[in-house]
Symmetry: C2
Subunit: 355 residues, 2 copies
DNA sequence: TATTAGCACTCTATCGAGGTGAGTGCTAAA
DNA sequence: TTTAGCACTCACCTCGATAGAGTGCTAATA
């Protein structure tokens, strides 16, 4: 599979680059003229035919479904993959860009959702595509703190804090009014009892509590189960408008379906869980053309990475864009921001999980 | 201004309806045939000329900026406004729809963000446009509870609860490590001291605390000031894809600018604050064509309403769509959902603010 | 043997011409 | 007051012709 001549590699690389820039199928003549190659269009044509036979290039299909033999060539999914794995020289993000980004993070307020918003914004801006960032969360929810706040009559605001800094608030209606003192007492006892417990621990914890406490434990346990089921924290998106100006997204029906996918957070979570959970922290994963799994994303690619403390508290971030996105720019950015977020998470909410 | 003949009103109404349905300029002949009017196209033409003179109709301008005298008429902003104020019979939402919607709310989990998400989803679905919902928040932030959770070394997770149920979490780094017991003690004392206080109250509260407590009070006060400055809570959006399939949004540059506006939450908050704050709770406000204020929304209309307890805790919700949206369907929906959210807010976090 | 020039072919995009259809305004008749 | 008729304007579609870009294949060339 790697048995391409150097010239073939050069040609494939230039085709990917040119198509990334122009979104137009690229032909032999244009390639020679535009990049001043020292062999003739005919040679290039022969090589392109060979690359087509290898499945790395193809002739584009028009809107009417018929292939267009006189338009030029376009990389196939395999072509992009070959480019990413063999042809793209892995460069670091330029130092100046690194500094700009990290500066923004250290200037931001030390709140998780600020970081998430900022990460999404940076990714979207750098890649000129849609960015996705999920809030960090513990792989297995551990209870940390409960707060019960009386509001009015039988209504109580319950605030749960899980490990990893995830916060869950809920309004509950009790059978009968309860004073704030009583609530505070219950909260204090519960904080003693269920500190650091996982879902399983919690179920084993009946008998040692009165009715009110028991009810609340049940609620907490329900919330934790839900938190366990969820595969990722809240999802932050940015850069939707970037992708709308791309030619393959204007007026196409695929575009709308892809965007609908982004709007439905549950589907999106499912999507992310299916892919990202397989990979470890640190590596950047590149999914080209939906990789067979998502019909809606047939025209898209994703560059994804996990961040955080493996096995403990992790999140995911990435970029979704047209298949012809600039991988050479996107991949280092995703890697760098993932590293940055890993550091931030590590410094703050990570270590106390080892206790 | 109200001096339209009945026939003129009928014609204006039909033009608005037809244009809402088809997005095509509507001509005299089509109008007569399609709605089987008992007068001739020529009569309709005369009336349309009169309505044009009154500024309620106009001839559409093509993409090249030249007016097209042979395409038909479209309503002007004034035309829509006349339609909304004088011609639209204010109907209630059908009972079955009301039941469907309220059922969804009472089945949902009693969490504010569930309600917001659901409200946005319902509005987007009913109106087939973009929906905006802001979380309820107190007009003047009152401090309610603080929670300090030691994570690791000098890192502390601070969770603030404001009146109205708003929750704010922040990671702070202390000068030196502090035990969880010490933190709990500080939190307990602070909860005593600053319970129910507003921003002004807080600043008067120095001297009676040690250094650590004083630092934290400063932080809280900063957070509250920021909360005061913000005009609305978190913004929930839905239905972006609805509007993308509308003809005036495909491939137009205006569309992208409008969507960019929606992506930038700060601008959006500013926009909402400028309009909604003027109106009271209960009334539905209709802004047609950006109403001169926002160039990006020249082609759009908004149907907005406030919900909550006036003067105490309120939020806003509304629909943003093309100017030719179905006001007759959108306005009752917005009114109904606003009422529903008002009830929910009232039942839970509203009353204890009167203390 | 590898490369290139040349040629025939295909398909798209563009342009102008011509016809059709929808709409308008105006005038005159009912 | 209403309507029929007419002249006029555009937008849109179709058709044919043309130019341009690209391909594959064959034969000549270094």
């Amino acid at each position: 599979m790697t048995d391409l001549t150097d010239r073939q590699k050069t040609i494939l690389m230039l085709i990917v680059r040119d198509y990334t820039d122009t979104a137009q199928p690229v032909g032999s003549k244009r390639l020679v003229e535009h990049y001043s190659l020292d062999y003739s269009p005919a040679t290039v044509r022969n090589e392109m035919a060979a690359l087509t036979d290898l499945g790395l290039l193809r002739q584009p299909i028009g809107v009417d479904g018929v292939i267009n033999p006189s338009a030029g060539r376009v990389p196939t999914e395999e072509g992009y993959r070959y480019f990413v794995t063999h042809l793209m020289h892995q460069v670091e993000l330029p130092e100046t860009v690194q500094h700009t980004i990290s500066h923004q993070f250290f200037q931001s307020r030390p709140e998780v959702n600020q970081w998430m918003t900022l990460a999404a914004s940076v990714l979207a801006h750098q890649s000129q595509a849609v960015s996705l960032v999920t809030a960090p969360r513990a792989e297995k929810a551990r209870f940390k703190h409960v707060e019960l706040i009386s509001t009015q009559g039988r209504q109580v605001l319950m605030v749960l804090v899980f490990s990893g800094g995830e916060v869950n608030q809920q309004i509950l209606t009790l059978a009968e009014p309860v004073t704030q003192e009583r609530l505070s007492g219950v909260a204090a006892r519960l904080n003693q009892m269920v500190q650091g417990k996982t879902t399983e621990d919690l179920t084993a914890l009946s008998g040692r509590a009165d009715a009110l406490e028991q009810d609340i434990i049940t609620l907490i346990s329900g919330d934790m189960r839900r938190a366990d089921d969820r595969v990722s924290g809240e999802i932050y998106l940015d850069g939707l408008t970037n992708v709308l100006s791309e030619p393959e997204f204007t007026d196409s029906d695929d575009a709308r379906r892809a965007l609908r996918l982004l709007e439905e957070r549950t589907t999106l979570q499912d999507l992310l869980s299916r892919t990202v959970l397989k990979s470890g922290v640190g590596g950047v994963q590149v999914l080209i053309g939906g990789e067979g799994a998502w019909e809606e994303l047939r025209q898209c690619s994703m560059v994804l990475a996990r961040y955080g403390v493996p096995g403990m508290v992790t999140g995911m971030l990435g970029v979704l864009g047209p298949m012809r996105m600039s991988y050479a720019r996107t991949i280092p950015t995703v890697r760098y921001v993932a590293g940055l977020l890993s550091d931030l998470v590590n410094d703050t909410v990570g270590d106390n999980l080892n206790e």
